[in-house]
């Protein structure tokens, strides 16, 4: 008789809650007229991103995000779609990262990122009926409206340098991680919006503000939960950005990567749309007051 896996037994409460959360999410989207879709998890090419490395699978790669196929569905006139799937990002392992994780993405045609902010408020309200959340000692009021603050404003509120200065001095991540992130979503969830165009590979540029892209991130109790865009649907601009990212990937010594041609071809047919990716493991961490991502999955890669 082998000793029981007590670690796994101890996760039972959280794993049961996780299953309920997934069921609630599906019910929320179906009620709101969304179609649940499934797209291949092994694909010839992901969107080239400088800071995301795919995991090769034969000559293809595992998904880093389902967005390319989701947008092809938008282009073929599936206007309200959502997907719950596993994604893979190489060498991302920390207390809030797993190289294989679960992502929720939803897309709305004929819409922009403002509508997605409302979706986030409605979804969280459904998941937290009491309107109050206790995460790692932070008491967060989940009732809408959430706090909305631009990235620029967040830096001027919380960091010793301005956003322009940290970008210029090449220390954005250090300052953002040290000064800004821990302050976000502490009393109310924070919607952090309008990122520099250089930080949003697939987002639309804000009309009349060419230095900003229509991107937001949702934070609750310092935890980054979701990343959203008003989606770029200009094929030539998207190709230019991909070429640029791909060039930077190569000069950083990373493996060359083919461009997702069918996606680029069909992007012209995609209506004005908005899309968002929300990390399910982090959401479960938040709703079960778990300190690390290890506590909300049955198995971590180290346990296999």
């Amino acid at each position: 008789m082998v000793d029981p896996n007590w670690g796994l037994t101890a996760k039972r409460q959280r794993l049961m809650r996780r299953a309920m959360i997934l069921a609630e999410i599906r019910a929320f989207f179906v009620t709101n007229g969304f179609l649940e879709v499934e797209t291949p998890q092994r694909i010839p090419a992901n969107a080239p991103e400088l800071y995301i490395d795919p995991i090769p699978s034969g000559n293809w790669a595992l998904l880093t995000s389902p967005e390319l196929c989701m947008k092809r569905l938008l282009a073929a006139d599936y206007p309200l779609i959502f997907q719950l799937c596993h994604c893979w990002r190489n060498a991302e392992r920390g207390s809030k990262h797993l190289p294989e994780f679960t992502l929720l993405e939803w897309y709305r045609a004929h819409s922009d990122y403002h509508q997605l902010m409302l979706d986030c408020e409605h979804l969280l309200t459904r998941l937290v009926p009491s309107g109050q959340l206790n995460y790692q000692g932070y008491l967060v009021d989940i009732t809408p409206p959430f706090e909305r603050i631009t990235l620029e404003q967040a830096f001027s509120n919380y960091a010793p340098l301005s956003l322009d200065q940290v970008v210029e001095q090449n220390c954005f991540e250090e300052h953002y991680g040290q000064y800004v992130e821990p302050q976000l979503g502490r009393n109310k969830p924070t919607i952090l919006y309008d990122f520099p165009t250089s930080m949003a590979a697939l987002a639309r540029i804000k009309p009349k503000e060419p230095q900003h892209a229509e991107r937001f991130e949702l934070y609750i109790a310092g935890l980054e939960l979701a990343n959203a865009f008003s989606e770029l649907n200009d094929e030539s601009e998207q190709r230019r950005r991909f070429d640029n990212d791909e060039q930077q990937r190569r000069s950083a010594g990373k493996q060359p990567y083919p461009l997702p041609e069918p996606f680029l071809r069909e992007l012209t047919n995609m209506p004005e749309s908005a899309g968002i990716a929300l990390g399910i493991d982090r959401l479960v961490m938040l709703l079960t007051d778990a300190k690390t991502i290890d506590q909300v999955v049955a198995f971590t890669p180290e346990e296999l």
């Binding site: 060498a91 920390g94 954005f172 930080m199 991130e217």
Partner: protein
């Protein structure tokens, strides 16, 4: 050479020309930008703890460490002297480096010494060591404040709690990992 993606708890790397062990580690990606690797490091020579954050692209040399079988000989002005049981070479390790482990050294004890070049920077003791109690007041009946334990000092000067029935002159076994009393030793 290690890269940032090799960093994890327990890895021993060279930083500023000295060996360090990673005692805490986290991977973060603030704002979906570059990955940052947050490390809590302990200097293996001085023992000092500090935090440092690295960006991908940085490289680390493995710390050239070697464990050697040695025998404890004696203590002199330079510190505690050990002899390599294969080469008979002798080295001395300072009191500060040994910290509390110095209390568990017995003449001729076989230990493992962690070497950084020619410098001994750490010691692995046998799990159990037998030491004689040199001082311990008799237990006062009715003193329940400390349970059934009382303070004692052993021959190396180490102080610990022992059960009330342990008298001066008795040989006891101590767990060197915790420093706690294990049992009386029959002679």
């Amino acid at each position: 050479m290690y890269s940032c993606s090799d960093l994890k708890k327990g890895l021993k790397v060279m930083i500023d020309e000295e060996p360090h062990v990673i005692v805490g580690f986290d991977f973060t990606k603030p704002g979906k930008g570059q990955a940052l690797y947050k490390c809590k490091l302990r200097n293996m020579i001085t023992g000092s703890l500090f935090d440092r954050t690295y960006r991908s692209g940085e490289n680390f040399k493995p710390a050239p460490l070697e464990e050697r079988d040695m025998q404890y000989l004696y203590k002199d002005d330079t510190g505690f002297v050990f002899m390599d049981t294969k080469t008979y070479e002798q080295i001395s390790i300072s009191e500060e480096t040994l910290a509390d482990d110095k209390y568990f050294l017995v003449d001729n004890m076989e230990v493992k010494i962690l070497m950084f070049g020619e410098q001994g920077i750490g010691i692995t003791l046998p799990i159990f060591v037998n030491l004689r109690v040199t001082q311990s007041d008799p237990w006062v009946k009715g003193d329940t404040a400390a349970g059934n334990n009382k303070p004692a000092t052993v021959e190396t000067g180490y102080n610990l709690q022992v059960p009330s029935f342990v008298d001066e002159g008795v040989l006891i076994q101590i767990d060197t990992r915790t420093g706690a009393y294990v049992t009386r030793v029959k002679e």
